[in-house]
């Protein structure tokens, strides 16, 4: 029998049918996905096992699994339509992503930002940052973030100073952290330590801007510390003599202070003998 009796099967109808079926499947899939997206007010039943178990399942691909979950978490927490999206927030960042890759800094930073700014859970954010600090002892950004959160968020200045001190142990630390650290003691009410720290910055920096900023703080803190010292000495004088000193020099004569401090401009502090109060008549640079 000749070849003409067996014509070659025509491919076009088959290919067209295949393309048609593919298009139908694609449209159906896109429709279903759109319907799912429309009903995203309730969080999908999210179950992510602990990072410890995921690490086992990852077979050495834990860093890329951490990347994938981090990318997913950014999209998930950017979706404001999901009402209960903070339900697993700590689990996802602290127990899963950072467990899979404990040296991945971004999830600590972004996770703590979401916890603070979106979920209003600063202590949760600090727990996440504490884990990051423990896992990455040479890194300064994590303790800095924790310190900044304590400073600006929960106003716990002593705790902030401790975090900034941790950040300062890193050789790569940004110079601005020293200024935050020095100021936290002032905010916490420890003007003497703050003066010492600002004085150290003022003496050691070569940057004219930093030097000016440091001097402004040193100026005002010095006034504050000196006036506190004089106030305490006057109180001790009154307790010992039963009267107010007539002049500040009486404090030296009575052996209560070794010498009277000069104000930052090199002049003497004023004294009101009627009220028994030392005062500074110059102007404070920072006005506090």
């Amino acid at each position: 029998m000749s070849a003409a009796a067996y014509p070659r099967p025509r491919r076009l109808p088959l290919v067209a049918a295949a393309l048609g079926l593919l298009a139908a499947a694609g449209l159906a899939s896109a429709g279903a996905a759109a319907a799912r997206r429309a009903d995203e007010r309730i969080s999908p039943l999210l179950y992510l096992p602990s990072g410890r178990y995921l690490k086992a399942a990852a077979l050495g691909f834990d860093p890329i699994l951490a990347d994938a979950l981090y990318l997913w978490s950014i999209q998930y927490y950017s979706n404001y339509r999901v009402q209960d999206r903070y339900r697993y927030l700590e689990h996802i960042y602290r127990d899963v992503i950072t467990e899979l890759d404990p040296h991945y800094i971004d999830p600590y930073l972004i996770g703590s930002m979401i916890m603070t700014a979106e979920a209003h859970e600063p202590e949760m954010a600090l727990r996440l940052l504490d884990k990051g600090i423990a896992q990455n002892p040479g890194d300064w950004i994590l303790p800095f973030e924790a310190g900044y959160l304590c400073y600006s968020g929960i106003k716990d200045y002593a705790r902030a100073a401790r975090y900034f001190e941790m950040a300062l142990r890193s050789p790569d630390v940004h110079p601005a952290v020293r200024r935050f650290h020095a100021e936290m003691y002032n905010r916490a009410g420890d003007a003497r330590t703050s003066l010492r720290e600002w004085g150290s910055i003022w003496q050691s920096t070569d940057d004219p801007y930093v030097r000016t900023v440091a001097w402004n703080h040193v100026h005002d803190l010095r006034v504050e510390v000196d006036l506190t010292t004089l106030r305490e000495a006057i109180a001790r004088f009154i307790a010992a003599r039963g009267r107010r000193p007539a002049r500040l020099e009486d404090l030296v004569a009575a052996g209560i202070v070794d010498a009277l401090p000069d104000d930052p401009e090199g002049g003497a502090y004023a004294y009101d003998p009627a009220r028994g109060e030392a005062a500074y008549h110059g102007s404070r640079v920072l006005g506090r």
Partner: protein, 255 residues
């Protein structure tokens, strides 16, 4: 390397580079490394880490797949097609045949890994984030491929490609899970059971020695001792597996 082993190795290499699977895997790997750039755009923070993780994971996955998919058929397919008779009729020791096949695939993997690495570093250079420290991870991944290839050849000497593939992939999975024996031992009350776990830990291939991907991406140090240990472990374990493969192939009946 004796001439006969070299001849078989070069022939195996020529055969492997004609295999479409190799090119398919390579194209996928190259495309995936390129995709890393697009994926990294979705992140908040360092894109560099995502690109590096993606690239190293791609080299790892596709290197392992190449080792397994080419390795499992190296010996068994020769037996199936009866082409092995032509070779064994010549004055060639069976062990030389197995070793030649192994080194041929090692050469293929070397070329394959070099292409993926060059492409990966090209992408990193284009982004201005190239880091020579990543090469340590790729060297160790290559050692892992060599060990997996040895295992694939061992199973290829014993059985058909499907069974070889399952067994090799099972050992790959186990090789990355050996640390979990420590968790198991902590929960086992019986000393004998714990001893069995210890023996299994020692006998099964520990592929975690070849995995420093996470370390190099974060710029953490990978010591010379760590590298030397991986080389030594491969030399001992790989040689043991190849000797076993030779022994199995020597006793194998050819009909």
């Amino acid at each position: 390397m004796p001439g006969r082993i070299l001849a078989i190795a070069l022939n195996t290499f020529r055969e492997a580079i004609r295999n479409r699977i190799l090119y398919l895997l390579l194209v996928f790997a190259v495309a995936l490394i390129l995709c890393a750039q697009a994926v990294s755009l979705m992140t908040v923070g360092s894109e560099e880490k995502i690109i590096k993780d993606f690239g190293l994971a791609t080299i790892d996955i596709f290197g392992v797949l190449t080792s397994v998919l080419l390795g499992i058929g190296l010996v068994s397919r020769e037996i199936e097609r009866r082409t092995v008779y032509v070779l064994l009729a010549k004055p060639i020791h069976r062990a030389e045949f197995v070793l030649g096949k192994y080194f041929g695939l090692v050469l293929t993997l070397l070329v394959n890994t070099a292409v993926m690495t060059a492409w990966f570093f090209g992408v990193l250079l284009a982004k201005g984030i190239a880091d020579i420290g990543l090469a340590k991870a790729i060297v160790l991944l290559f050692l892992q491929f060599l060990l997996i290839t040895a295992l694939a050849i061992l199973f290829s000497c014993m059985s058909n490609p499907i069974v070889s593939c399952i067994l090799t992939l099972a050992l790959y999975v186990i090789g990355h899970l050996l640390w979990s024996f420590d968790l198991l031992k902590a929960r086992l009350p019986s000393a004998a059971a714990r001893a069995v776990c210890t023996v299994l830990q020692a006998v099964l291939p520990n592929l975690s020695h070849f995995d420093v991907k996470g370390q190099v991406v974060h710029g953490l140090p990978v010591g010379g001792g760590e590298m030397a240990f991986a080389f030594g472990y491969l030399a001992l374990y790989g040689a043991a597996v190849l000797l076993l493969a030779c022994a199995v192939f020597q006793r194998r009946e050819m009909q």
